[in-house]
Symmetry: C2
Subunit: 165 residues, 2 copies
């Protein structure tokens, strides 16, 4: 298996794939509620309205993955963005890839901190949820509908994440 | 000031005002990602498309309130729902009211646990964010637009939350 080494997740490095959900990535910052609340405004778009889709709020509970982690397939949602926000206070892994003629290209792995969410842009190849350390909940915001919105693709040769940094 | 005593937040008690975002309140539960993830599906609607509104993801950072907490005003967003999910691992307070001819009726206070989010239904009177214990972040999903989507109303006589339970 080809080795795949995660890098630290930053908004700039992740931008080809979507947005990092963290206060530093807000488009505006407002003091509201008579000064008792700071609003870090409009951090990530929610792009789910294609073909009658609607935004829905769900919770994903992920089992932890243990090193070495085998990356043999990727998926994408052609009709909508999908956002994950960690609720468990633990880091997790994000693996994404550029599209290469309808298939995922070389994967790129990011180590996300416990305060960083990610929003995959519509149609972005990504690995299913990769929790670490213990069973972990994530708030998920994606597209609700009854139509097909999932593509999967296997890598001809799997990758292996052998270390987190 | 009239005393206001919080009750424990449950999905059933909160339903007149919106939905509680917790795994027990999912409309469906699916095992996905080859069994590594449980999807607690479609927990709360996101009702923000009135008049060209779009869903946006923000983070609210709330200063903690200290007892006794004075409840003297309420607000509502007539054009969209607004969801809060705690990220700080701490309980917080939720204060809501039925509408009485365009003004908030008697407030009802709920103590939310660190794993419970709330989604205020469109137009529901609620108090601004009431964090407890320390500065606390919340993921917020509400309506983005440039039009007016805020009404505020003062209570003739304030209420006081003197204890959490």
């Amino acid at each position: 298996m080809k080795p795949l080494l995660p890098i630290t997740l930053t908004a700039d490095a992740f931008r080809p794939f979507g947005e990092v959900i963290e206060t530093d990535n807000a488009s505006e910052i407002h003091l509201i509620n008579k000064g008792t609340t700071t609003r870090f405004h409009d951090i990530a778009p929610v792009d789910v309205s294609d073909k009658g889709g609607r935004p829905i709020i769900s919770i994903f509970r992920g089992k932890p993955f243990v090193l070495p982690i085998r990356i043999s397939m990727m998926e994408r949602h052609p009709l909508g963005s999908q956002a994950f926000m960690p609720l468990a206070g633990r880091p997790y892994l994000v693996v994404v890839a550029q599209d290469m003629a309808g298939r995922p290209g070389e994967p790129q792995a990011f180590l996300a901190s416990e305060t960083q969410g990610v929003s995959y842009a519509k149609g972005t190849w990504h690995h299913p949820l990769l929790a670490l350390g213990d069973v972990s909940d994530f708030l998920v915001l994606d597209r609700g509908s009854n139509d097909a919105n999932l593509e999967e693709a296997d890598y001809p040769e799997p990758y292996a994440i052998n270390a987190l940094t």
